[in-house]
């Protein structure tokens, strides 16, 4: 079984452990063994070291990467921001002078960055290493007839020159759509597919601006797709969709019920038959109806004898 370093970040292990559990359930079943990166920290988030000092950012990021290097594994993130921060830090460390300076810092904690581990997002691992066919073979329930609006998020798309895996066209991303289609679901296009959900620094700096941007995107999803659910591969987007739809509803800014939102590996874990109380348990929006629909008897795929 291929091993990969499971880089957890902050939001997933601390606020959305059901997403972490969904990784741990689906990956071994699909032939990937997640290996813990013991002692890994925050990537560090954009609003921390990257906002103060480039080399401190690179030192904290590369400390995380050295944990994977010591185990001889690549790194897999579940959070788009972590993917962006770690990938950019690795890109900055291609500069020989910077690498020397950062390695001098790392020497004070007996570490050295070598650059031997590549950085992937879980969507990349599922799309490139596992593949749609193997996903289909492992489904217990078919999501045929369900309509999904996908939210790929920002930090796996741009800047494409620092990423190990790129979309063919980052302004028209297809990886998440194809992953969702592998479950049998329909994934209609909408015009604001690649636009920003407003989470992140924007939300902590000015929540009203963030909500306005979010509402534009959400309205586009509703009007153009009328989706049964929203699926994302970004844990920050997940939080925005899950916590801000009820706010818009309460303020009367949307005239429809909040659309249940799942992280992609949660959707897949449900379709593979895992227990919702472990893999899709933490949300503001009530997801019980869509979960029951996904795991309903009529969707059971007959076991191959």
């Amino acid at each position: 079984m291929e091993k990969i370093g499971l880089y957890l970040g902050c939001n997933i292990p601390l606020k959305a452990p059901d997403i972490e559990q969904s990784f741990r359930k689906i990956l071994p079943a699909l032939g990937i063994e997640p290996v813990d990166l013991q002692g890994a920290s925050c990537c560090p988030a954009w609003g921390t070291a990257p906002s103060f000092d480039l080399n401190t950012w690179c030192a904290l990021s590369s400390r995380n990467l050295t944990i994977a290097e010591a185990l001889g594994v690549d790194v897999m993130t579940g959070c788009n921001s972590c993917f962006g921060v770690l990938s950019e830090a690795k890109h900055f460390l291609e500069d020989a002078d910077r690498r020397k300076a950062v390695n001098a810092s790392l020497a004070t904690i007996n570490r050295e960055f070598k650059g031997t581990s590549d950085i992937y997002h879980v969507a990349h691992v599922l799309h490139r290493k596992v593949g749609a066919e193997k996903i289909r073979e492992n489904l217990k329930y078919s999501l045929d007839g369900l309509k999904i609006a996908v939210q790929p998020g920002c930090h796996t798309l741009w800047p494409s020159d620092v990423y190990k895996v790129k979309e063919q066209n980052p302004y028209y991303p297809t990886i998440l759509r194809e992953l969702c289609e592998a479950t049998g679901a329909t994934v209609p296009h909408y015009s604001r597919l690649e636009s920003c959900c407003g989470m992140g620094g924007m939300r902590s700096t000015d929540v009203e601006k963030s909500l306005r941007l979010f509402k534009d995107k959400l309205q586009s999803i509703k009007d153009e797709t009328d989706a049964d659910l929203i699926v994302t591969t970004c844990s920050s987007c997940f939080l925005q969709f899950d916590m801000s739809q009820p706010i818009l509803k309460e303020r009367g800014l949307i005239d429809f019920e909040p659309i249940p939102t799942l992280y992609y590996t949660q959707l897949l874990a449900l379709a593979m038959g895992f227990d919702p109380s472990q893999v899709a348990a933490v949300s503001q929006i009530d997801r019980s109806a869509i979960i029951a629909e996904i795991q309903s008897e009529k969707r059971l795929i007959k076991e191959v004898a």
């Binding site: 013991q38 925050c42 070291a49 990257p50 906002s51 921001s81 800047p159 920003c196 902590s204 700096t205």
Partner: protein, 167 residues
């Protein structure tokens, strides 16, 4: 306003010093601003307009503006820029200038303290929620790893962040 070459040099050198190496490539075409979610949301000083102010020699004059902290770090601007300015790095360089002058919102201090104390910018005690979903209560991350926390504190203490007196 009077254009003062000395002030322009100071602003440009400050931005380059904080990592905005491509600022002088900018021809003010505005492709970055056209695609920037922060500009769309209404932050006045991002991408093209921030660069314009900096290239006019304004630095202290705009230090209190919070736009740079509204940057999503999404790098759409970097992708679209025809001149390899990497505008996000200019925005972040300006943010670093602000941060090192302690010109940032006090609300952001919490994440610096969280990072320093637990290794996580966002920290809430996860044990009950983790137990509920069938995971070990303690994460395999720095939050429950004393050596990891010491390493992170050592890196921060010996950095320019450590000299700001936040910790």
């Amino acid at each position: 306003m009077i254009i003062d070459q000395q002030k322009i040099d100071e602003a440009v050198n400050t931005i380059i010093g904080y990592g905005g190496h491509g600022i002088l490539n900018c021809v003010q075409c505005g492709a970055c601003s056209a695609i920037c979610p922060g500009v769309r949301a209404g932050f006045p000083l991002l991408c093209r307009n921030l660069i314009r102010h900096l290239l006019n020699g304004e630095l202290e004059e705009i230090i209190e503006d919070s736009s740079s902290w509204g940057c999503q770090a999404c790098n759409r601007c970097t992708e679209v820029c025809p001149r390899d300015v990497r505008p996000q790095e200019v925005v972040f360089a300006f943010r670093r200038y602000q941060a090192n002058e302690l010109a940032f919102s006090t609300s952001s201090i919490t994440s610096q303290m969280n990072l320093y104390e637990t290794g996580h910018a966002v920290y809430t005690d996860p044990r009950a929620a983790r137990k509920r979903v069938g995971l070990p209560e303690e994460t395999p991350t720095s939050a429950f790893d004393e050596q990891a926390k010491q390493e992170i504190q050592t890196l921060i203490n010996n950095s320019p962040m450590g000299e700001l007196g936040l910790f």
